[in-house]
Symmetry: C2
Subunit: 403 residues, 2 copies
């Protein structure tokens, strides 16, 4: 049978995580751990908020009541570190842990994913992130999500920073999917506005990285993506005005999961250049990932939109609410990018590197990022437009206001 | 913590099926069976189309090449029968089958689900469908989908007809979810227009049964539902004109799965009255399920829309493309229902019982359906409006043009 080259891409959709969503979801943590085979659990968390809010105590109490032993490991930081992963691997081995429960957001879950495969691997876990080996097994994992952003609770990927050289790298493996994800939108009421907005920026970008594609054939995927983007755009303003609005917090929390569980990428080829360019920024300046995405995307978009003007027109009209000027597709596309910049500013996000890091970036720093982003000038990034080192340099310069 | 009664419903989302979608998907059947533990497989299928198209032979060849033993059981009919389920259970036990592979649509997959739990149950499998017992275990299952409609490939439910009394009943169990679903849109090219349109009607109704809800809080779910409904509405006309249009066939096939894997019901309370009323119709007249839904829905909608006019207005505007008359919400709502009737007619579906069965229905037949639908006048149906036996009788009479 002749395959029409313009037909949509074949795809695999696999999102097995059991999502338990709502006000009463945390009560089920012990039964869920047991359901998925856990007896002795590493409870993995980040900074003080899980402690201060009482969530950590609550979860530990429910586990204890359920007869599940818990070993605690806190202190995971944003852009989670390889050293903490090593600490977790040693602890799990020493204690005979058979399940990892994360309490937190993407950083904690990502750290857990690295620990979960590292425990069962004789070599160095960083091998997986360097592409030197593929993980054959993971300890089972579950999570209690408190920050909607990274989507790690349903995704197959994790991003770890190796302090030895500030190298931030991702690794994807279907075995790393969480067995369950407990999501109570009330737990996000105390997220500060900046973190909330950065989270929504990340959520939207997970879908936009899939949406900006040359695969125009999967109209259902595009329609779902637009539904998600529009809902996030509405919900963030409600939450910034009224942080305890359950309804809007719920949209963002659920949106974060389906933006990155591959639903919005079925049949399309993702780009991911904005993510890659941002990883270098946050590795170098320890910036908030979502904010870094906002600082890069408008420059990326202006640099690449001519590759598929129609897609940017569609985004402008269906997501940003721009009236289509049929006589001027390029103008309509650019108005969509401008509207996105206004949106970023309206929710307190930067649209340039200076705004992000609060100072000028030097050309030498940019060159260092270009080098890392291309693994020493040996690879490209992105697929909507395949970006060479020269392209990447120009986008960084644009984002820095130097071009 | 005080639960605000108007807040959205807690929900569980669990859709673990691995979807392998596209032109080359069938090639993977042996490796998928092995991945999920199958060694000796019951290959379960329906009428002649799987044989005539060569698909059955192709699949059996791939299984054989992969070293997997196959036992064949065909002859599943639409509105699948309990007697065939019994035959399958005996065959699986006799042959020591450890995996069931369905080739077909919802009827075949539903039959497989009943066999898969019946094999491992000492009692009578109909117990589960009568609510007398809950299935504790299923043989693992996978499917090669050829008819997009029922959504059984990702759902937790199955519907079986007991010939002893023409009783058609559903049963839901998370353990009955398929391990994998192979979907090649090319396999649907030869589906006749009537079956294609009935399938799309069923797909849309799986989302509409969830969409017509008093839970107005899950705006993301509503937006996704509308995206799906609009895409189905567009795609069916393309397919009716051009049955070999891969792009449109693909939207319908994937839409069928996500319309019924609970994605479009997250945080809402479904209604399902139209399905229940239709089950009695197709049990009595052996009608095509999707066509039966089209024959019932407009009458149901006119009978219940005043329960939440705003939701019917939203449907009219966002799905059916009706211009909102802000001075007349009821008028807008009714225009949406009329537009849906025009849509059904345009795709060759009936909007009355006469059109469905090709003859008049008697009041005695209606009364028999009312009795069965209420289990002997002991229960209600639906939640958007809770329907008593009297309500159900009126809706049947409306759909029969007798009221």
């Amino acid at each position: 049978m002749v395959v029409n080259e313009t037909d949509m891409k074949d795809f695999i959709y696999y999102a097995p995580t059991e999502v338990v969503f709502g006000k009463c979801s945390e009560e089920q943590v012990a039964s869920l751990v047991k359901k998925y085979g856990g007896h002795k659990v590493l409870v993995h968390y980040g900074g003080g908020s899980a402690v201060r809010s009482g969530l950590l105590d609550k979860i530990c109490g429910i586990l204890k009541e359920g007869g599940i032993e818990a070993v605690l490991l806190g202190g995971v930081v944003p852009n989670p570190r390889l050293s903490k992963v090593h600490e977790g691997i040693e602890l799990c081995r020493r204690e005979g842990v058979d399940f990892i429960l994360s309490i937190g957001g993407g950083s904690v879950i990502d750290s857990a994913k690295a620990i979960a495969c590292g425990v069962l691997y004789e070599g160095e876990v960083w091998d997986f992130y360097e592409g030197k080996a593929d993980a054959a097994a993971y300890l089972p994992m579950g999570c209690v999500l408190t920050i909607p952003a990274a989507g790690s609770e349903m995704s197959d990927s994790s991003v770890i920073t190796n302090e030895d050289g500030d190298i931030k790298t991702g690794y994807s493996n279907n075995l790393s999917r969480q067995k369950f994800a407990i999501m109570n939108p009330e737990r996000t009421y105390t997220l500060p506005p900046y973190q909330t907005a950065a989270g929504v920026t990340d959520i939207m970008m997970h879908t936009m990285e899939r949406y900006f594609s040359h695969d125009d054939d999967m109209t259902l995927t595009d329609a779902v993506a637009e539904a998600l983007l529009c809902t996030m755009k509405d919900s963030i303003f409600t939450v910034l005005k009224d942080p305890r609005n359950y309804r809007a917090r719920a949209q963002i929390m659920w949106g974060g999961s389906i933006a990155h569980n591959d639903l919005t990428g079925c049949g399309t080829t993702g780009d991911w250049a904005t993510h890659q360019l941002e990883h270098e920024l946050s590795a170098m300046f320890d910036a908030t990932h979502g904010a870094g995405l906002a600082a890069i995307w408008p420059s990326w978009a202006r640099y690449v939109y001519r590759e598929n003007v129609g897609r940017f027109v569609r985004f402008a009209v269906n997501v940003m609410g721009i009236r289509n000027d049929y006589t001027d597709p390029e103008g309509t596309a650019l108005k969509g990018i401008e509207a996105m910049e206004r949106f970023y500013h309206a929710i307190g996000m930067p649209t340039s590197i200076q705004e992000l890091i609060g100072k000028d970036i030097t050309e030498a720093e940019i060159e260092e990022m270009v080098e890392k982003c291309t693994h020493g000038y040996t690879c490209t990034q992105g697929r909507f437009k395949v970006l060479s080192a020269d392209d990447i340099r120009r986008i960084y310069l644009m984002a820095a206001g130097l071009m």
